[in-house]
């Protein structure tokens, strides 16, 4: 791989930036691979990278129907954190955060990971008690967490509404200092480049239309660029897992829903952490260009359209101004929607499937970005060994049958409410 370093920047700067090699190739599909990964998003590309890096499997294709980075890896609000409460989630997301901390070095690609911390505001004494519970669980699991009182929150985020007339008063906050943000496109590009350097074929504009079977076993995929044989097939197609799963014969507890995100015009530095509102769905961080990047709740009805509804734009703006009245005059530059695989407990599904040769990585709901490195790591293990990695043992498809759902919010089996 052509290494990126201060010297390569100097060398190419002095020669007019004309000699940078392509970051990855554009190969035509071969007739057969050891592993075919369907979906060239963050998770699919990370899986390919770790299959090569950790397991020495290099005869791999990542098949993407559009272009890499065009799906949810490029549509999220880039927040990375590991403040989970329940067994099954805590260690998985903490492992992911640890991989994030070294990711730029691992990939030789600056993913601009910035550990600016995450502040989740508490708006009642009971909510603060709940956050203390969460913080204690995290600390017992060796994860950093603090509970802040109102004065400490005020020092960190003086722009919240602390007035007598605040819609929801601020009692304190949950704080994780190692949380942060990353440049989401760079994550896709970094994994693509590093996987390509290991010989992985990244095949874009190639849609999987069906599966090739030999008896009961899946032995390849049919695509818009011909048939591709595969020793094992991994699905990592956020938002469209049901559609492809159905073609393979899988029945899944998944609904597709829209989640929107927004960015405002750029302003001077204001939001120094990532911030979440405890009284409604609103979370925000400030990009390096100065825009406030924020999001809210699901649109609330099944949808495969990558665009959102104005009702949610209004709801999110109301929540934003209730917490931060100073941004009420800011203009929104863009908003967009991504299609989420919503599961009945808002936790992912990652496991071998009942169909021989087919492995599933989906159901990430609205939390897939932060999981990208650990998802790739654990799914690569699953594809290489045929058995789930211990960190994802709780994410099996059978948990809905056995009653071992991981429902962080305690909402019950209603995907659109999660």
């Amino acid at each position: 791989m052509y290494g990126y370093s201060v010297f390569s920047i100097l060398r190419n700067g002095l020669s007019g930036q004309k000699h940078w090699p392509l970051a990855w190739r554009a190969p035509s599909p071969k007739s057969n691979y050891d592993v075919v990964i369907v979906g060239g998003g963050g998770h699919g590309l990370a899986t390919a990278f770790y299959l090569a890096e950790n397991h020495g499997i290099r005869n791999i294709a990542v098949v993407e129907k559009g272009y890499i980075g065009g799906g949810n890896v490029g549509r999220n609000t880039t927040i990375v954190r590991s403040n989970y409460l329940l067994d099954g989630n805590t260690h998985f997301y903490e492992f992911s955060l640890k991989l994030w901390e070294n990711l730029s070095r691992t990939l030789n690609y600056n993913v601009m990971f910035s550990q600016r911390g995450q502040l989740v505001a508490a708006h009642s004494p009971d909510q603060l008690d709940g956050f203390s519970h969460r913080a204690n669980v995290m600390r017992l699991n060796g994860i950093d967490a603090e509970v802040l009182d109102r004065d400490e929150v005020r020092r960190m985020a003086p722009y919240f509404d602390y007035s007598e007339t605040a819609r929801f008063p601020i009692y304190g906050a949950h704080w994780q200092s190692r949380a942060g943000t990353a440049r989401h496109d760079a994550v896709a590009w970094g994994y693509a480049r590093a996987a390509d350097a290991h010989g992985v074929d990244i095949i874009q504009n190639c849609e999987v239309t069906g599966f090739i079977r030999q008896g009961e076993r899946i032995v390849g995929v049919e695509t818009t660029r011909g048939k591709i044989g595969a020793g094992r097939v991994g699905l990592a197609v956020a938002g469209h897992t049901s559609t492809l799963g159905r073609k393979a014969g899988l029945e899944l507890p998944i609904e597709s829903h829209i989640l929107q995100a927004f960015v405002t015009e750029p302003i001077k530095p204001l939001v120094h952490q990532t911030v979440a509102y405890g009284a409604d769905h609103f979370y925000v961080s400030q990009s390096d260009k100065g825009g406030l990047v924020f999001g809210g709740a699901l649109d609330g009805y099944n949808s495969y359209a990558q665009r959102g509804n104005l009702g949610i734009v209004r709801d999110v703006a109301e929540a934003a101004v209730a917490l931060m009245p100073c941004i009420s005059r800011l203009r929104i530059l863009r908003h967009w929607g991504g299609v989420m695989d919503m599961t009945p407990d808002a936790s992912p599904i990652m496991c071998p499937t009942p169909i021989d040769g087919l492995y599933l990585n989906g159901g990430w709901c609205y939390g897939g970005f932060k999981a990208t490195p650990a998802s790739g790591w654990c799914f690569a293990h699953t594809l290489a060994t045929g058995a789930p990695h211990p960190l994802i043992a709780a994410y099996g498809l059978d948990r809905f049958r056995t009653g071992r759902t991981i429902d962080e919010a305690g909402i019950g089996p209603f995907a659109w409410l999660q």
Binding site: H240, S242, A305, G311, A415
Partner: protein, 88 residues
């Protein structure tokens, strides 16, 4: 906003309604002891990209439960009917 033509109240914005999911899922009889059928009723969803039959309740209006047939790709509403009389 989606506009849902409520058979009682006429066309209304969808935020007057509460969404309640896939209406094509049939609930097993209370006497049914088959685990697999209950599992499928609670968890498994067809999740089509296209026409989808779904429950909406007009909570801010007549409070009637409706079955709306809607396209999940372009959000066109194909039909709206009362759900009463249809087995849940």
């Amino acid at each position: 906003m989606l506009q849902i033509k409520c058979p009682c109240c006429g066309p209304r914005d969808h935020d007057e309604f509460r969404y309640a999911g896939d209406a094509s899922v049939g609930r097993p009889a209370h006497t049914d002891a088959d685990f697999e059928r209950w599992y499928r009723y609670v968890f498994v969803r067809e999740n089509p990209a296209g026409a989808h039959r779904e429950y909406w309740q007009h909570v801010m209006g007549c409070r009637q439960w409706l079955i709306v047939e809607r396209n999940t790709v372009n959000h066109t509403i194909l039909s709206v009917n009362f759900s009463r009389g249809t087995p849940a």
